[in-house]
């Protein structure tokens, strides 16, 4: 059973912040195996972001639970969740992923710094991975000196550099043109093969869905389709 990396059990999420109750998730049962490269698609408001956030421990479910790498997230404290994210997860968001005051190299190093990895090793690994994502010449560039696509590559590099179990990517290509988006996706797919890292992304993008090996469709907070390709 060790190859079950993510398991959600009857996840529901109700937002009650405003007067209207929003049932963002209605009983999601989802199992992700180690090494999968899968997409969650669905119309806007269907609950994709909510699901990814809860799986990543950024938000808590109203009911149900998330088991990540065998651990039940609901029993973890705020700072244990930070620790868990640091050591098990990589995040890529739609845009503005990077810390503006840090260079590409420093952004990639950041997570390793928090993990307490030594300077030399940090630097070596960060440089390697930046070369791998094709940014060997941008090591010292600040985010505002890079294009959107380049920034997303740095984000991928940062997400992957500490060898997490799972990378969660919420619409990583939404702000990119299709060519740039596709090359980013190809790159992530290579990472997935080479390093055996699980990728879970949400998307609107037909192209992303085509590249994924498994596609889960979400509608009104429920899974309506789950197809393996």
């Amino acid at each position: 059973m060790t190859d079950k990396i993510i398991e959600t059990k009857k996840l529901t999420k109700v937002y009650e912040e405003s007067k209207v109750k929003v049932n963002a998730l209605r009983g999601i049962d989802l199992t992700v195996k180690k090494g999968e490269f899968m997409a969650i698609a669905g119309p806007s408001g269907s609950g994709k972001t909510t699901l990814l956030n809860i799986i990543g421990g950024l938000d808590s479910p109203t009911e149900g639970k998330v088991i990540l790498g065998g651990k039940d997230l609901s029993v973890l404290s705020k700072s244990e969740l930070s620790e868990m994210r640091l050591n098990n997860l990589g995040f890529i968001f739609q845009a503005y992923n990077l810390i503006p005051v840090l260079s590409a190299l420093e952004n990639v190093e950041y997570v390793m710094l928090l993990q307490g990895i030594k300077q030399e090793e940090r630097q070596k690994r960060a440089e390697e991975i930046l070369k791998e994502v094709g940014l060997g010449d941008y090591i010292n560039a600040r985010p505002n000196e890079m294009s959107g696509g380049q920034q997303q590559r740095v984000a991928v590099a940062r997400a992957i550099v500490s060898n997490p179990n799972v990378v969660l990517a919420d619409e990583p290509t939404a702000n990119l043109d299709s060519t740039t988006g596709e090359s980013l996706l190809v790159m992530m797919s290579e990472m997935n093969k080479k390093r055996d890292v699980t990728f879970l992304f949400s998307t609107h993008d037909k192209m992303v869905m085509d590249h994924s090996e498994r596609l889960v469709i979400l509608k009104d907070g429920e899974i309506t389709e789950d197809k393996q390709k």
Partner: protein, 408 residues
């Protein structure tokens, strides 16, 4: 920790205009606070200095009780003996013996209540500025019948140089005595009130007039240093206390001025507190704005594994660095102005009338930056900066990544 510091340091340089606003607030606050207090301290030390130099001196020896009513009967019977006892004391710079009697001065036109000083014309100028205030004629030269009076008094009496005036007072033999004097010189000190009240004649003349023989009312002393005063007074009291004589320091002689100085100092501590509060309120908004603007970024920091306490630390370090930079710039500018003002002083002549009541200090005040001012001003500014980072730091620390993303 190091990482939070590094991020904080870079963060304060990213919005230069905003950091500039905060730094300017800190610099102006520091400058204002330091100089406000330095001026108060300058006034305090001027007040003390002027009083000491206008005859109070560092220490006075009297018969016990003399200061209360200045009675001629309370005198030093054997000044020569007292002087021989104190002359070689360590810390003593100079001394002068005096007769002091309350009396009346009259011209054909007018008369006025005065304090008559019988002084040793050679020794007195060594511890009293009076001779240097001369504006007409000459200071006393030891010849019989000379008198040195203030300009304001001369005006009141409608007399001029070389005019004759009559001095009257209570002699030792309980009868009112009087004698005529010729105006040898006229002075203008720092205070017209002083000039109206204090007249100077030769010691010998005063002793003759009041039938005191060789007796004097007081012996005034200067110590080598203001810090030596207390110990000097103590050793004198050990020597001569048994004779019913008492050495009193300037603090005992002019308690009102001492109180005023203490009040100024207490006020200064209130200034520190007010500035901390005002400055913190001024800065907190700007820091809060700069932090809230970065909400998304901080959400990302948290999402990828940064603990809330480190986010808190980062914002606190920003306050720390702003405070530190503010202090560095602030002191550079403060020292620059101090160097100028030490030479030029600050002209307060528009308030000359009020200053008149402050122990006769001049209208140009030289600020004095004392150690406690340096310490407490720096401390206040620093605390204000760190304090104003506290609220934003707590606020942002409580944020969850999801809330952070949604807030943009």
């Amino acid at each position: 920790m190091k990482l939070a510091m590094k991020l904080a340091w870079r963060n304060i340089w990213r919005n230069k205009r905003r950091s500039g606003v905060i730094l300017t607030a800190i610099v102006v606050g520091l400058l204002g606070m330091v100089f406000m207090i330095a001026i108060m301290d300058g006034m305090s030390s001027d007040m003390v200095k002027v009083s000491i130099e206008n005859g109070v001196s560092h220490v006075q020896i009297h018969r016990e009780g003399f200061l209360e009513n200045m009675s001629v009967a309370l005198n030093i019977r054997n000044p020569g003996y007292v002087i021989s006892k104190i002359e070689d004391m360590p810390g003593l710079k100079t001394y002068a013996e005096r007769v002091k009697v309350r009396g009346l001065i009259s011209s054909p036109e007018n008369s006025s209540g005065v304090l008559i000083w019988g002084i040793n014309y050679e020794r007195e100028p060594k511890l009293n500025s009076i001779a240097s205030y001369k504006v007409e004629g000459e200071f006393l030269s030891g010849k019989k019948g000379e008198i040195f009076i203030g300009k304001a008094l001369a005006k009141k009496l409608k007399v001029e140089l070389d005019d004759k005036i009559v001095v009257r007072g209570q002699g030792l033999a309980t009868e009112i005595v009087s004698a005529a004097f010729r105006i040898k010189g006229i002075y203008v000190s720092t205070s017209p009130e002083y000039d109206k009240y204090n007249i100077f004649i030769n010691l010998k003349d005063s002793q003759n007039l009041f039938a005191m023989n060789d007796r004097v009312s007081e012996i005034a002393l200067m110590a080598d240093d203001l810090d030596d005063v207390d110990s000097l007074a103590m050793s004198i009291n050990n020597e001569i206390g048994v004779q019913g004589l008492k050495a009193e320091t300037w603090k005992e002689i002019i308690p009102l001025i001492v109180q005023m100085v203490e009040m100024f100092t207490a006020f200064n501590y209130i200034v520190f507190v007010i500035v901390v509060i005002a400055m913190a309120f001024g800065i907190v908004n700007t820091i809060l704005m700069s932090v809230l603007e970065r909400t998304r970024e901080i959400g990302i920091l948290m999402a990828i594994g940064t603990k809330p306490i480190m986010v808190f630390g980062m914002v606190m370090w920003e306050g720390f660095f702003l405070g530190l930079l503010g202090l560095v710039f602030g002191w550079i500018i403060t020292i620059f102005f101090y160097a100028i003002l030490l030479k030029t002083g600050i002209d307060f002549s528009i308030w000359a009338d009020s200053l008149k009541y402050m122990g006769g200090i001049g209208t140009t005040i030289y600020p004095v930056i004392k150690g406690y001012n340096v310490f407490w001003s720096s401390f206040s500014v620093f605390i204000a900066a760190v304090l104003s980072a506290l609220y934003p730091a707590i606020k942002i620390m409580r944020l969850t990544p999801v809330k952070a993303f949604r807030s943009v």
